[in-house]
């Protein structure tokens, strides 16, 4: 089952701009993870944030988690054309990692 739901479904920005995508989920979680998938490729893990954490940084990525609102956001700063990909949030709950449908990000030069 797909618990996470990303918003927006698609996002188009220019290089240098920031990209923000959101994820909402329904049940309590152990952690929340963000993955990137380039066209025709497998998923690549970006960042993991535990349920007792509120914010985490990794390079140009910033992830926030609000367990009271059951939501998370992924911010990519100073985007590059190479950031063009689909981004998925995945919630670790129950006995599985449940992926959303993803946000498709297009970064144009």
């Amino acid at each position: 089952s797909q618990q996470g739901e990303e918003d927006p479904q698609a996002l188009s920005i220019q290089e240098g701009e920031n990209a923000t995508m959101n994820c909402s989920y329904k049940t309590s979680i152990n952690n929340l993870q963000w993955y990137r998938q380039n066209s025709g490729r497998g998923l690549v893990h970006l960042i993991l944030i535990r349920s007792n954490e509120r914010e985490k940084h990794s390079g140009r990525l910033r992830v926030t988690l609000d367990t009271s609102k059951k939501s998370s956001s992924l911010l990519i700063t100073a985007s590059r054309a190479a950031d063009t990909a689909s981004y998925f949030c995945a919630t670790a709950s129950g006995y599985a990692l449940n992926f959303g449908k993803g946000t498709s990000l297009l970064v144009t030069p």
Partner: protein
């Protein structure tokens, strides 16, 4: 360190034919996953192995799908017979420990059933 290896990358078959996918996880990773990904969707878990044991196969359509992980390393996912609706990307992933850990994905096998 080598990543998760999958083969074949692409497979085209006619309906009712059998097909098999192979996965070699990252060395030392105890947990192995098979996911199905339809176009425009996120991956959906089919089966999860911890070492040789299938600990979660609730989403695996057992009438036509089967999987095995011999010796707790490589794994094979089989469909017999394939149906048109099985056309999708089949992803294999592995993690060092539990499902809550970071998962490392292979490139996937794109299956087309005609």
């Amino acid at each position: 360190e080598a990543g998760v290896v999958q083969s074949p990358r692409y497979k085209i078959i006619e309906k009712k034919q059998p097909v098999a996918f192979w996965c070699n996880p990252i060395s030392g990773h105890n947990t192995l996953y098979w996911y199905l990904q339809n176009l425009g969707q996120g991956p959906e878990l089919l089966i999860r192995y911890e070492n040789e044991e299938a600990v979660d196969d609730s989403q695996l359509p057992k009438d036509r799908f089967s999987a095995e992980r011999l010796k707790g390393v490589d794994s094979t996912l089989k469909i017999q017979p394939a149906e048109l609706g099985d056309s999708a990307v089949y992803l294999c992933a592995s993690s060092l420990g539990r499902y809550t850990d970071t998962q490392y994905f292979g490139p996937g096998t794109r299956l087309t059933v005609l």
